[in-house]
Structures are given as C-alpha cells and as structure tokens.
C-alpha cells in the first residue's frame, strides 16, 4: 500500500511543482525589457519616455508618419523608381561603359515575400543583361544566418571580382561591419530592405518602413472598432527591426485609443496561429486581428470559421492568399503593403550609378496599403498567381511575365 501512495504523490507532485514554478514565472513576464536600452543607444535618447519599449523611436515614428503623405519624385507608373526628395549621392566617379558584374549577398529566400521579390529581381536582371548593362549577377544566399552572410560578403570582396555590391542584410547590427568592408573597396554598395548602422553605402533602398505599416494598420482597426474591443496581434518573430517597428507603432496607437491588444509570436506556423486564435476565442470575443506579416492570415480567418463566430476586422498583407480569402469571406479588412517591388530597384540603381546619374542617398520608396475598393483590381491583375505571390510585386513589364512568377 505504501508504494501506491508514494507513486501517486510522486507523479502528481511532479506536475504541481511545474505548475508552481510557472505561476511564479508569470508574474515576471509583464516587466518591460529595459536591458535592451544599451543595444540601441539612439533610441533611448530620442524616445520621449522609457516605457515605450526598446524598438520605439519617436523621431522615426514621426518621420514615417509624415512620409505616408509625402510627394514622391519620379513617374507614378514606375513606383520602384520613385523617391522622396532628399540628399543625393554623386556617382560621376563610377561613370563607365560596358557590362558590369553585380554581387548580391541575400539574407535568405525563406518567406514568400522574399521569394516573390527574388523572382522579380532575376527578371529585372534579364532585362538589364539584354540591355548590356549587367554581365552577370553572382548570388549568395545566407539562409537567415549572420555569420554566413558576413562570410559571403568577404568572399565577394576578396574573390568575387565584383563591380558593384548589392546587400540585403540579415540583421541590422551584425551586418554593419560587413557593409563597411564592402564600402572600403571603393566600389558602389547598394543596401536594401533591412538597414545597417552605417551610411557608407552609395544608396540605401527601402519602402517607408515599419512605423508607417503600424500606423496604417492600427488606425484602420481603431476606426473600425470600439474602445475596449479586443485585438489579437499575430507576430512572426521578435528581434527583426522591420517587424518590431510595425508592432511598436501599432501598440502605441492601440494603447492611446483604448484598444485591448494582446500580441503573440507565431513563427508564421499556421498551426500556432490557429491555436492562438481558438484559445483567444475561448477566452471571449475577439473583435480584431492585427498581423505584422500576412503569412498565415488564412489560418487565422479559418479559426473564426471553425469556431462559428463572426469574422473580425483584420489587417493582413498584399499576399494573394489573404486578398483571395478577404474577398471570399467579405470581412472588413485592409492589406498593408511592404512594397515588394523594391527588389527591382537595386539593379536599376546599378544602371544609374554606372551611367553617372545621381541616386538618392536614402532611397525611400512609396508604401501604400490596398483598400477594399482597390482589391478587385489587384486580384484581377494577379490572376493565376500562386497564393504566396504579392500583389504589389511590380514586375508586369518585365520579361517572363507572368510565367516566371507562376511557376515557382
């Protein structure tokens, strides 16, 4: 008899111990991570109050908020060449004829957004090869690894025989020395998408940015929801600046307007997304869904369908899967855009640089969300494209359209 009692005690107390430990942990979770203050020294200086979190920089927020309504230079039909008026880099020293070799250090192609962009870039390359501007583009894929990308850049510098470097950094701080080393070669360096902490590059190409995304989406939800409504915020992963700033801006606006938003990390795994939404629905009504990237939006919507409740007000992305599901369900939504057509711009910048034309030092591309009124137009324009395609990919006039994007 003694053994049986001890057996039960042992295994139930195992579970209880774990529970107790966790209950203890849960109280610490709420604490804001103030240790991050050192890592981004400028942010602490510029942030108006310390409790905004490590990623919130008021000055950047204000700048991007303004840029949302800025006028862009250049033709509207070619948004990938548009930019906000500002400091220009003189490139007359690079003016030379002949086809050039471009070396591209890519962070990865591990999400549909990057895959779509990389196809567009390759088609743009084809067009420029036909024009005799670029001889070849050597690509190294770092597979989301900082060290691999640093090695890739060093390989290009020492053995790549490159005329120009194109770098899409994997992470901001870690890639800074790599970009600096590329700059030291004296050859043109083009950085795009995620930024680095140096301005040595010939041009840094990016859409307006994460704060603009956060402002567009959070304002849409605030406008369509009541104070006190609950919003589930689905985030891919922590620590990437272009994603963190989206949430930082949205969180601020939600707080200011009394929207009760709770954020979760999903790793873009649809199983996780569905579980999170289902659990939230079990807790009570969910009025809105905010996403920092549209990957997995369909799983989130399906969770509402499976639970048999009304669709939420929702922001996804201009990924086809979301646009299609959005139309099919008729929910009230918005598709924010992190302009995928920026993948064309680096190679077009190479063309300009070797022609001696000046390029913007910081090349800020337009970034406009797709509203419900515009949705049909984009669905039609992208008919036959796979679910992982992005509506604002901007490659309609490139060779290989549309097969190159359809067969992936």
């Amino acid at each position: 008899m003694r053994r049986t009692i001890r057996g039960t005690l042992a295994s139930t107390s195992a579970a209880l111990v774990v529970l107790a430990v966790l209950a203890g942990c849960s109280t610490d979770v709420e604490e804001p991570a103030d240790s991050a203050a050192e890592s981004t020294s400028e942010s602490t200086e510029e942030a108006d109050s310390g409790d905004e979190g490590e990623w919130f920089v008021q000055a950047d927020y204000d700048e991007q908020d303004e840029q949302r309504s800025a006028t862009f230079e250049g033709p509207e039909s070619e948004p990938w060449l548009q930019y906000i008026d500002g400091e220009m880099t003189d490139t007359s020293e690079y003016n030379s004829g002949g086809a050039k070799k471009v070396c591209f250090a890519n962070a990865s192609v591990s999400n549909p957004w990057r895959q779509t962009g990389f196809i567009t870039m390759n088609q743009q390359l084809e067009a420029l090869q036909d024009k005799g501007v670029i001889s070849e583009m050597e690509v190294r894929d770092a597979q989301d690894d900082d060290n691999t990308q640093l090695a890739d850049i060093d390989y290009f510098i020492s053995e790549g025989n490159c005329d120009a470097f194109v770098i899409s950094p994997n992470s901001t701080a870690a890639m800074t020395p790599g970009v600096e080393r590329a700059c030291e070669t004296g050859k043109p360096v083009i950085v795009f998408d995620r930024g680095v902490e140096t301005d040595c590059a010939t041009t840094f190409i990016h859409p307006i940015g994460g704060y603009a995304w956060g402002i567009d989406t959070a304002e849409f939800l605030v406008d369509n929801l009541e104070e006190g409504d609950k919003v589930v915020a689905l985030r891919i992963l922590p620590g990437v600046d272009v994603l963190e700033t989206r949430w930082a801006a949205a969180e601020k606006i939600f707080e200011e307007n009394g929207i009760e938003a709770e954020d979760f990390f999903t790793g873009a795994d649809p199983t996780e997304i569905k579980k999170i939404i289902t659990d939230a629905l079990n807790q009570g009504e969910v009025a809105g869904v905010w996403m920092d990237a549209g990957d997995g939006a369909v799983a989130a919507i399906e969770a509402f369908e499976d639970a048999g409740v009304d669709y939420p007000v929702m922001t996804g992305e201009d990924e086809m899967s979301f646009l299609r599901k959005w139309e099919e369900t008729g929910l009230n939504g918005l598709a924010p855009v992190y302009s995928n057509f920026q993948w064309r711009t680096p190679l077009l910048a190479v063309e300009k640089i070797f022609a001696g034309e000046e390029v913007p030092k910081e090349w800020v591309l337009p970034q406009t969300p797709i509203t419900e009124d515009e949705r049909a137009e984009y669905l039609e324009a992208n008919e036959g494209m796979p679910d992982g395609h992005y509506a604002k990919f901007g490659g309609e006039d490139l060779p290989g359209f549309p097969e190159a994007w359809q067969d992936r």
């Binding site: 057996g7 966790l22 942990c25 979760f264 873009a268 795994d269 649809p270 992982g388």
Partner: protein, 377 residues
C-alpha cells in the same frame, strides 16, 4: 503412501493464479497510483482548473474542439511510445510531419483525384522512413538518437530545398477536411471532429497491438534487451516495426495538421519533443520497458491542457519551451523513482538486515574494508 499423499494434497492446495488481482475498482485504484495512471488524474485536475479559470471552457463544443486539435499530438505521442518503450528514441518525427505536409501541398494541390494516391504515397513515404530508421538502428548498431537526428536533418534540408523555407499553396479543401471537418449537427457537442475519430481508432488499434505478442515482446525488449536476445526473438524486426509505427503516426499527424491549419514548412516543428514530453508525462520510462500506450495519449492531453491553462492565466507563449523542458526533467526524475518504488526490492539492498550487519561486524579477512584499496593480502 506418505509421499503420494503429500503430492496429492499439495497440488490442489496451490491456488490457480488469478488473471487479475482484486476487484475492478481496486485494480483501477492501484492503476491510478502508477505514473501511467496518475496522468489521467492529472488530465482531470487540469481540465477542472481550466474550467474554473475560464468558464467558456465548460461548453461541450469548446471541449470537443480542443480534443480535436489535440488529436495529432496524441497520435504522434502514441507513435513515439512504441519507440520509447522498446528502449529507443525517434527524433525525426517533426521533420517527417513537415515533409508530409509539404508533400501533400505539392502532390495533391487543387486536384481532388489525387487525394487517394496522395494519401497512399504519404503512408508509403512514412513507412519507408521508419524502415530506414529501424534498420540503421538495429542492423548497423547506430544509436537511434543519432540515426533519427540524422534523419531529422536530412528531411529538414530536403523540405528547405523544395520550399525555400516558405509556404506553398494549400491542398484541395476536400483533403483538408480530414483534419478540419467533422460530423456536424451532433446534439450537445455540435460537431465531432474527424481527427478525434481517427484518434479513437488509433487508440483502439494501439491497445489491441500492445496486448498482442508484438506489444509484449516490444516492452520486454525495452526492459531487458539481453534476455530478449537470449530468448531468440528477432529484436531488429520488432524495433524496426516500432520505428515504422512511429513514422506512420507522424504521417497521420501530418495529414491532420495540413487539414487543420494548412501548408507551411514550420508545421510539425518541435513535435518530436512535444511527443517525447507527452510520453514521459504519461509515465512511460525513457529507456523502455515500462508504460501504457494510452498513458502516452493522456500525456499529450495533459501537456496541451497545461499550455491552455497557462495561456488563460496570462503566461506568454514564449515560456512554452521552458515549461516543456522543466516537465521532461521533472517527470523523468519523479516517474522513474515512482516505478522503482513499485518494484520488488533488489537483491543488493536486501530487506533482511542480518547479512549486512554480519558483514560490518565481522569483515571477511579476504575482503577489503570500506575505503581500503586492497584486502588483507
């Protein structure tokens, strides 16, 4: 005369061994006291705790949906059980799920006619992976830890190569219905999810299988591989079949998950550890030889209930891995001890104190005394 009378009187005096000891009630009670039984109590406790913290969970519809979504984990845990109880590990489970999910998305696509061939292909691929895992472990004598780790990396690399790491399109809705749909308009619970039905079928088959000679031998193989070797049982065949069952259950979990959520290369990530945690929480001893297959499934439910409880208590999901790690360590430590208590006392720690006191009182002249490196000589 006297000798015959002794034998005749003794034989009927020895009672036939009963099939079961005690009444059904007392057998259940003593079963609940083992780690394998206590997990069912734990499931009950957690369920009540969730219902108290979140009254919405008392709705039968919410409960059955929860059970439906836990089915893939429970099925994976039962698959992992076969391997663990035979004394091995299967770390390739999550990668198998990811590979099957991507396979379903690419092969079946939007073509309903490919559902049946697709399912057969997935099961064949699953079986093949299990056979490779099993044969390399048993015939080439590579520890299963390494074999399945290698298989995990090989499959992950393959998935990454095929997809580039991003989601492709979902397979046709009719196929996804296996994991997403159910029997609708059922009174009280509203819907009986198909995954729950599949889980029930798998559970019944597993119980039956573990009562067959195969199951008995598998447990014996985990308990004492040496004696199984001497008994002449083909260990390699039994263990290989356990690996095949594990991969097949990962395949079934993959089929359900692609229906539940859709195609993404990250689906199934971490499933091997979730399954191992569930099995351990179910009181199955790592290293093999002890544990009940349904306890593994109950362990999966307990684990998911625990996570749901933590969510409803406001603990962020980033703590999940930490919780899982603590559970593995705590459950292994405590359940191994609990099983030990139930075992017959070992000969080395005999309950009879007289020999040991004799030893200390009068040490043998030839034996080294405690702490001495040599004996009398």
């Amino acid at each position: 005369m006297s000798t015959t009378s002794i034998t005749t009187t003794e034989t009927p005096a020895r009672p036939a061994l009963p099939v079961h000891e005690g009444s059904l009630g007392s057998r259940i009670a003593s079963g609940m006291a083992t780690p394998g039984g206590a997990v069912f109590v734990l499931v009950g406790v957690l369920l009540v705790a969730i219902m108290v913290s979140n009254p919405n969970f008392t709705d039968p519809g919410a409960l059955i949906r929860f059970a439906g979504r836990t089915a893939p984990i429970a099925i994976a845990a039962m698959g992992q059980y076969y391997v663990i109880v035979s004394g091995e590990f299967d770390l390739s489970m999550g990668a198998v799920i990811a590979a099957q999910v991507v396979l379903a998305g690419n092969f079946i696509g939007q073509d309903e006619g490919r559902i049946i061939p697709g399912l057969l292909l997935m099961l064949a691929v699953g079986a093949l992976i299990g056979i490779v895992n099993g044969l390399v472990t048993t015939l080439l004598k590579v520890p299963s830890f390494i074999v399945t780790l290698g298989m995990m990396l090989a499959l992950s690399g393959l998935v990454r190569y095929i997809t580039g790491g991003a989601a492709s399109g979902n397979p046709v809705d009719a196929f996804r219905d296996i994991g997403r749909g159910g029997i609708e308009d059922v009174p009280v619970v509203d819907i009986i999810p198909f995954p729950l039905i599949i889980l029930a079928v798998v559970a019944v088959l597993s119980v039956w299988l573990m009562r067959r000679p195969f199951g008995r031998t598998l447990i014996a193989a985990g308990d004492n591989p040496q004696s199984m070797h001497y008994s002449g049982a083909p260990l390699w065949s039994y263990k290989t079949r356990a690996f095949v069952l594990s991969s097949l259950s990962a395949t079934v979990a993959g089929i359900l998950l692609v229906g539940y959520a859709g195609v993404h290369p990250s689906v199934g990530a971490g499933y091997e550890f979730t399954a191992i945690t569930a099995v351990v929480l179910g009181g199955v001893v790592l290293g093999g030889g002890r544990g009940w297959v349904l306890s593994a499934a109950a362990g999966a439910f307990a684990l998911e209930l625990l996570f749901t409880l933590l969510t409803s208590l406001g603990v962020t999901s980033t703590w999940r891995d930490t919780v899982q790690g603590l559970i593995i360590i705590a459950a292994v430590a405590l359940s191994a001890r609990a099983w030990q208590v139930g075992r017959r006392p070992r000969r080395t720690t005999s309950s009879d104190p007289s020999p040991s006191t004799d030893n200390t009182a009068t040490p043998s002249p030839n034996q080294p005394s405690t702490g001495a490196t040599t004996g009398d000589n």
